[in-house]
């Protein structure tokens, strides 16, 4: 076995272990902050797996989009609403856990079966395009994948406009959830009048 193949094998083992253990931690840990940071670690290791597959552009895009944007946004949201609050105990928590575990295990066995029965046609390493893949991805995005690409961008635009409309309080005069008239004052105003009660 040559040194390159050994290195690749070691990298693959370490990355897969980090992905599996990290993903389990994301689901099972009690602290939501730890889950969020572990999710970032999982995304990074998936980017590492892409690198091992010679897809460096996809790996960098994975880091930029998932770690740099999605995960930072998740952590941001968690920290802005970081209230220490005890969750209400659920009565039938045990039966719920049993049901969700069995559903997950069924899905896992389905995936394993697909993996074992399907015949994966692997192209030989000589045929891999490597660095040229950036150009190839660009060509596909502007030819046969043009419609899905544009539809996805329209979807993102709609989500953005929706979020802005929901967050700006001068657009709607009534609160959606309570039906009360919306307070149009600044968010940062102090809850007590500071100067008026002095005299």
């Amino acid at each position: 076995m040559s040194i390159a193949i050994t290195t690749q094998l070691i990298c693959f083992t370490v990355l897969s272990l980090v992905v599996i253990i990290g993903a389990l931690g994301v689901v099972l840990l009690e602290s939501i902050v730890y889950s969020a940071f572990l999710l970032g670690g999982v995304f990074m290791s998936v980017a590492g797996l892409y690198l091992l597959l010679n897809a460096s552009f996809v790996a960098a895009a994975q880091v930029l989009v998932y770690v740099g944007a999605v995960n930072v946004l998740i952590i941001f949201a968690i920290m802005l609403v970081n209230k220490k609050e005890d969750l209400k105990p659920i009565n039938d928590i045990k039966s719920r856990r049993v049901i969700s575990t069995s559903i997950c295990l069924t899905l896992l066995s389905l995936l394993i079966r697909v993996d074992l029965t399907n015949v994966w046609s692997l192209s030989s390493p000589q045929n891999s395009i490597g660095e040229e893949s950036t150009i190839r991805i660009g060509e596909h995005l502007f030819s046969d994948y043009l419609l899905p690409f544009e539809v996805a961008s329209v979807l993102l635009l709609m989500a953005m406009i929706g979020a802005i409309v929901l967050a700006r309080r001068d657009v709607m005069s009534k609160d959606i959830s309570t039906g009360l008239p919306v307070d149009q004052e600044l968010i940062e105003k102090s809850s007590e009048p500071l100067l008026t009660n002095k005299n």
Binding site: V33, V67, G68, N82
Partner: protein
């Protein structure tokens, strides 16, 4: 364009002379450029810290460090030694694991980005195909480390500083990436080597700064904001937030933040000089000078000479920009957070989008000047 020294090839040939296989030679070669670049980055930080002290002193009509070595050149080493031997404190109510991991996560992406900084045709660690895109992707990891240390400190100033740092870094990454994209559009490649070679045709006249003046200014403003330098140092605004996310840090963990911010400053300056100021290119093309003096361009002596000129030019351009950044830090007031976000989203983003559009149009209209 296959000229220039290939140190890796000659080193491997040299080791093969001792009867080693090419794989073993490659493994012995691998850590050498990495160590060299790491040492260069640390020495660059020491020089920048000294410059910062001296220039700030000059701006405030003081003398600055004077007793540690001639003109105080040993002062940064004394600073570093002090930080090295200080007690490492983790606050009692802080989250120990995240508190330790935060500074490491801030420093590693910055050092990794040095992978793509070229000092000459073959003088870089790795000419990866995705080049400059790798830097943009890596610099997006940093806010996670900042948020992590801000949260783990269990201190409201730290948390606010971390949140501000992340918000700032996300908003300025978009105009930064768009102005890089305009340069990439002219080069037809993401590789930093190709970006420099595309500017090497007619010396100073063919540098990207003349073709991308708007992109240059947008990139420089965004790079300063990403480095959290003074007009944009809100995450650590000492009058408001004590020291932002680094408030609770001491000793070597603080030194990691300090090192990270200065390495990032030098890296940004190097990338500005690569993207817009012709990288390792001399203002008059070296080939023209060699032709004028009737010297063969491929002779070993000339090769060593051009390589050293290349390194000197890269470092010189970078330090000129570092000088401007230091001068800006000591002469400009800090912007408010709403002004900072206004500038990023309402001014720089539309301008860099328009710049990209105009570059694309000019590339179609004048392919010989804006890359075919």
């Amino acid at each position: 364009m296959e000229y220039g020294l290939d140190l890796e090839y000659s080193f491997n040939e040299f080791l093969k002379g001792f009867g080693l296989s090419s794989e073993v030679a490659h493994i012995i070669w691998l850590p050498l450029p990495m160590l060299l670049v790491l040492v260069a980055a640390v020495i660059g930080v020491l020089v920048t810290v000294w410059l910062e002290r001296k220039i700030s002193a000059a701006a405030q009509q003081r003398i600055g460090p004077e007793y540690a070595g001639a003109l105080g050149v040993l002062q940064p080493i004394a600073d570093g030694l002090k930080l090295l031997v200080k007690e490492d404190i983790i606050p009692a109510k802080a989250d120990g694991i995240l508190f330790t991991a935060g500074p490491i996560l801030v420093l590693i992406p910055v050092i990794l980005s040095w992978l793509i900084v070229p000092f000459g045709q073959n003088l870089l660690i790795s000419n990866v195909g995705i080049g400059i895109f790798l830097w943009i992707a890596l610099s997006s990891i940093q806010p996670i480390g900042l948020l992590m240390s801000g949260y783990a400190s269990n201190n409201k100033y730290s948390l606010l500083g971390g949140l501000r740092a992340a918000a700032q870094s996300i908003s300025y990454e978009i105009p930064l990436a768009l102005s890089v994209l305009a340069v990439v559009l002219m080069t037809n490649s993401l590789s930093t080597i190709d970006i420099v070679n595309q500017q090497s045709g007619a010396g100073i006249l063919s540098w990207n700064i003349w073709r991308q003046p708007v992109g240059f200014i947008v990139f420089w403003i965004c790079a300063l904001a990403e480095c959290e330098r003074l007009p944009f140092d809100l995450p650590e605004a000492e009058e408001e937030l004590v020291a932002g996310y680094q408030t609770e840090y001491a000793g070597m963990k603080f030194a990691l933040f300090y090192l990270g911010s200065y390495i990032n400053l030098i890296l940004s300056a190097l990338l500005v000089s690569i993207l817009y100021l012709g990288g390792w290119g001399f203002p008059i093309p070296v080939e023209l000078i060699a032709k004028f003096l009737n010297l063969p361009i491929n002779a070993p002596f000339i090769q060593v000479f051009t390589a050293s000129i290349g390194i000197v030019m890269t470092v010189l351009k970078a330090y000129l920009l570092v000088f401007i950044a230091i001068l800006l830090r000591w002469t400009t007031p800090r912007v408010r957070i709403d002004q900072l976000l206004d500038l990023g989203w309402k001014f720089l983003l539309p301008i860099s989008l328009a710049n990209l559009l105009i570059t694309a149009g000019l590339k179609l209209a004048f392919p010989q000047f804006f890359g075919g």
